[in-house]
Amino acid sequence: MTEKIATRDIYGKTLVELGKADPHIVVLDADLAGSTKTVDFAKVFPERFFDMGIAEQDMISTAAGLAACGKIVFASTFAVFGSGRAWDQVRMSVAYTRLNVKIVVTHGGITTGEDGASHQANEDIAIMRALPNMTVIVPADAVQTTQVIRAAAKFYGPMYIRLSRAKTEVIYGDRDLDYQIGRGIVLREGDDVTIFAAGIMVAQALEAAERLQTEGISCEVIDLHTIKPLDKELIIRSAEKTGAVITAEEHSIIGGLGGAVAEVLVENCCVPMARVGIRDTFGESGKPDELLVKYGLTPKDIVFAAQNVIKRKR
């Protein structure tokens, strides 16, 4: 049984580690510190933590002001609020100004669960990647999350990093992970179809690849954690190799990883492609695992999509 750790738990711990190393790090939250785990930082560095209350727009522009004075700012809330409620502030106070603000959100996607549709961010990647100067990352597991947060502290500029609520399988436990922003990771080589995935769907993709193997289908599985800037060369290279592409994301099929990959393929290497994701609908309350089944985000869904996309190969 693979270990499961919540990526947000790791976020809290990593922030403390970073805070010890660099006094410029300042953390903001919007009344969700207990959930996003910025509370860990708050306990150790109360003078460098500001809970802005239920005021996400204020939080983002305040983060910009702090960053303008040389602080390395991490601002956290739920994905729906950090991306949606404060979109104009992210756009104008952070992306347009290129200030050093890392918007690290938790509760991305449908696995937010019981809180239901209002709290399930299925459009956040689409609206964040549309912003110039924004780096958008969806880590796949706890190990990668540590690397991502550490890399974020070193990287100068606006970032949107999306974590989940639920415990997720550790993928990078034994694998050597030399994390680099923007560099996709080939987790499994194959010849028949490429599965590009991010976040929790990476584990689902690996499971799907195992099942497809038993049917004689060889899958290449690539972790495209950085949705922006996208590892275009890797996408093209793999698509040219396998001739068929699946994308899998805990996000709408509109505008997220699927949209981004399709944009690259259509301009460079037209191969049959199919998107696994939320099919342009809002979510609902339920247990995370039940929701993944109902909304088509399981290994079975990836297998089905892969089988069909291969049929479309010329």
Partner: protein
């Protein structure tokens, strides 16, 4: 006690700023003269009396910060920066031209001396709070000023920020509201009534001052009083006239929010502004 000489000097500068506002918006055939003119005396006092800053070293870490939250009043800020020596005065005529550092709404990446990019109303006070908090973290004693429009105070974020300022006892922050009474679609109080405006700020935990926004002496005295307030942020509600200094703009405040003067209007406006003799200033 500020000298009469100093008051005259700043009043004369404010008049210069008004001339620049007219000239640059005319040259651009675009821009916001009304709300820039109403703020000219406020900006003159801040940049030429109050602000500790170094035009030759815009990044000086200990400088006071000025956030123009009403980012469309860019012309008055550009005029002040030019007069202060941040860039040549001649450059003002490139306002809004493609490739110019003088963007339509202030852009911190284009122009040294701009502390925060604004334009989408309601964000500046939050940013100013961030700067004030940074000062505290760094144990620095620079002051942060933030100029807001009155219409801008209809944006909810302004009140989120106002709560933050008071909650954190940001006495190193002074907000000024350019209360020129008009927004685009009509009088502010007819569109979304701000009254009782002073009471609102008080209720949010601020020390509130009111003054005539065109009386340099009163502005100086009020800003100095505000600086002495401890433990709470201060706001100065400056009563102003949209289009101040140009009679036909003052008479038709709804017409000159975002409409630049024509060549003829420029001539007429400059004639009014330039004819003020020393003894009238």
């Amino acid at each position: 006690m500020t000298s009469q000489e100093k008051i005259h000097e700043i009043t004369a500068i404010a008049n210069k700023l008004r001339q620049h506002i007219i000239a640059m918006t005319c040259a651009a055939a675009s821009g916001h003269p009304g709300g820039s003119l109403s703020a000219a005396d406020i900006v003159a006092v801040i940049y030429f009396y109050l602000l500790r800053h170094k035009p030759a070293d815009p990044g000086w870490v200990d400088r006071d910060r000025f956030v123009m939250s009403k980012g469309h009043a860019a012309p008055v800020l550009y005029a002040a920066l030019a007069e202060a020596g941040y860039f040549p005065i001649d450059y003002l005529k490139t306002l809004r031209r493609i490739g110019s550092s003088l963007q339509g709404h202030v852009d911190m990446l284009s122009l040294p001396g701009i502390e925060m990019s604004t334009g989408s109303l309601g964000q500046g006070l939050s940013a100013a709070n961030g700067m004030a908090l940074a000062a505290r973290l760094d144990k620095k004693n620079y002051h942060v000023y933030c100029l807001l429009g009155d219409g801008e105070c209809q944006e909810g974020q302004v009140w989120e920020a106002a709560m933050t300022s008071a909650h954190h006892h940001l006495d190193n922050l002074t907000a000024i509201v350019d209360r020129n009474q008009y927004q685009i679609d009509g009088k502010v109080n007819d569109i979304k009534n701000l009254e009782p405006f002073a009471d609102k700020w008080r209720a949010f935990g601020w020390q509130v001052f009111s003054c005539n926004g065109h009386d340099v002496k009163a502005l100086i005295e009020t800003l100095e009083k505000a600086a002495k307030i401890k433990n709470k942020p201060s706001v100065i509600i400056a009563d102003t006239v949209k289009g101040k200094g140009v009679s036909f703009m003052e008479e038709r405040p709804l017409d000159y929010h975002g409409k630049a003067p024509s060549k003829e209007e420029e001539q007429a406006a400059l004639a009014q502004l330039c004819q003020l003799k020393d003894f009238e200033i």
